[in-house]
Amino acid sequence: MGFRVVVAVLVALLAATAPAVAAPSPSDLEAELVCPTCKTTLDQSDSPIARRMKQRIRTLLSQGATEKQIKAELVAQFGPGVIAEPPKSGFDLLAWLVPLGILAGGALGVGAIAWGWRRRRRDEVPAEPLDPALERRLDAELERYDA
């Protein structure tokens, strides 16, 4: 009985503290969708079709449509090019893979250079201490030179 109460309290607490799934805002969507005539995101465009698309987004949001549903409707009308983010398939996949590849290559390069430096420093032979007699003579020569 006690265990059940504890579980119920925990579930209630989790439900209360869990972040609610926020409805998308029109401005978020306008930054993620592209005007088909001017090829800029809707938030950057004031063309007639961009204005019409913004109006449609607001109407769909007021009807309770989700972000996915709104994007699906716009893709059905204007094609996949209306989504600002490149698709993760086909040739467009390169837009995702190339930057990641460059990043990974850069990290490998930096790692390799650091490894090379460290290895070179380890291999360096420490200088042998001077013979005390020679050191005394060198000091004397330097003092005479300064004088």
């Binding site: 088909p36 005539t37 007639p48 079709i49 019409r52 449609r56 009308q77 204007f78 094609g79 090019g81 460059i102 290559g105 390069g109 390799a112 250079i113 490894w115 090379g116 290895r119 070179r120 291999d123």
Partner: protein
């Protein structure tokens, strides 16, 4: 291998990787420049070349469902008009195009509207408002724009009975003072009435 030798081989590998990266990017650039179709049919027509009207098959807006291919109109003279419901000059020319269709239909001329970058429902409302009865194809994605070389809306082309572009492309609304002659000549050429 000495430390210097190891360092040199690392440098060599890094140089090769950098070179391969640069070569790949250069290759992509060349491929893009070489294979991208930058000049549409309109530019070739303006240069005086004999150009076949670029083919398309699109959904119809003037009927419930169905597809419409330009090739289906072979044997007819076609006035191809690119438009959109949000385009203001398109409203001015819509009655003119409808009248043209009614006037020349019996002689085998078809006005074919291509609604581009538009909401289907907006396009249908526009067609109803302006009493458009000629065939209209829907190109929401704008797939015809590049092939035809359309630069803005509206734009009008003339296609003769063999499917070849004739006359001049009209940019802006048709049958206003500045292009009435071009419009009438385009129709005559498409019908085969003008040399």
């Amino acid at each position: 291998m000495t430390a210097d030798g190891g360092q040199r081989s690392i440098q060599r590998v890094a140089q090769v990787i950098a070179l391969v990266g640069v070569a790949a990017l250069l290759g992509l650039l060349i491929w893009r420049v070489a294979f991208k179709d930058t000049s549409g049919a309109a530019d070739e027509l303006a240069a005086g070349k004999l150009v076949d009207a670029p083919a398309f098959t699109l959904d119809r807006l003037d009927t419930e469902g169905g597809r419409l291919a330009l090739a289906d109109l072979r044997g007819k003279a076609v006035v191809v008009n690119f438009w959109a419901s949000w385009c203001i000059p398109c409203r001015d020319e819509a009655p003119v195009l409808q009248k043209t269709y009614e006037r020349y239909r019996d002689r085998g001329l078809v006005v074919l509207g291509v609604d581009v970058n538009d909401f289907k429902e907006d396009a249908r409302r526009f067609m109803k408002r302006y009493g458009i009865t000629y065939p209209v194809a829907y190109d929401g994605k704008g797939s015809t724009v590049g092939k035809w070389g359309v630069r803005g809306f509206p734009e009008t082309f003339f296609v003769d009975r063999s499917g070849t572009l004739v006359g001049e492309r009209i940019e802006g609304a048709v049958d206003i003072e500045r292009n009435r002659e071009t419009f009438e000549r385009g129709i005559a050429l498409a019908l085969g009435d003008a040399p």
